[in-house]
Symmetry: C2
DNA sequence: TTAAATGCAAACGATTTGCAGGCGT
DNA sequence: ACGCCTGCAAATCGTTTGCATTTAA
């Protein structure tokens, strides 16, 4: 299951790259596959190591360069999650916010139309033209609550 | 107006430090004053330069160490605002979210009880125990919209 | 063919740390 | 007096860049 024809109709990241004029090289294919397989939220180091498993010759610089290019092209999005270290995910999905577990580090996504409305409303009230937004809720996931 | 008895009843940062067992040294007093005078949202470099104006002998390491200690003690909070570089502010105020202007960099604060409720609600729906949260809205402030 | 992509290592900027001396309690 | 605090400079960490070589289109 390496290329996974993707959920009926959805394109793979590398296909999106090509469509956006980003050259599809062997290293980039590997990086895209890593991102897709992971389900998102990997940091640079994680991408690097997973990619290195597929192709020993890949270098960190390539990972940094590739992620930057894909981000600038709008193929992926960078998140920060409180700490430093960017994490990356595909924005082909709908907009969503994050639940970040401060105990195990797990990141869950959620969508709330009501919340989106509120963001719009607050922006308008402040005569602010909203272009993007980010909401992160930190706490304990269900599993970590059980474990105490 | 160097020490500014603070808004009736509110303590100064350095007083909070002492209460939390953080030693009140001359350098730390200066750093606290800088943070208070600024109204928040300074990054390390800004704190360093403003502090240096008051005391030429202060070093960067001390600024980093002091901010870290005060953050760990819960005297101040760190924010990231999309980029890297942490910004610091006093959490003695009520919780608030941020409107970050992507053009001029200005950061406005806002409070919305309705939004706070929504965050609680979403957390519960996901069986997530919310401990803290962060909402940042990126876009253009009123001024930058006028300027085009 | 030709510009873009890559690995390597050096460069870089921000933050941290070891150490000898200074200062708060 | 004691242990924490400080400045300094060196060390470290994550990220970027220059260059010679390889590769996609």
């Amino acid at each position: 299951m390496k290329k996974k024809k993707a959920d009926a109709g959805k394109e793979t990241l590398i296909e999106i790259c090509q469509k956006k004029g980003v050259r599809a090289t062997s290293k980039r294919k590997i990086i895209c596959e890593v991102l897709e397989k992971s389900g998102g939220h990997l940091n640079v180091e994680e991408v690097y190591h997973l990619a290195k498993k597929e192709d020993k010759s890949i270098g960190v610089a390539t990972v940094y360069r590739t992620l930057k290019i894909m981000k600038d092209a709008g193929v992926i999005e960078a998140q920060t999650f409180g700490q430093d270290h960017s994490h990356f995910e595909s924005p082909t999905k709908n907009h969503h916010d994050h639940l970040v577990c401060t105990s195990c580090g797990k990141i869950e996504e959620f969508v709330s139309d009501k919340l989106e409305e509120m963001k719009e409303k607050v922006s308008k009230q402040n005569r602010f033209k909203m272009l993007s937004h980010k909401l992160e809720i930190y706490g304990l996931c269900a599993d970590c609550q059980k474990k105490g």
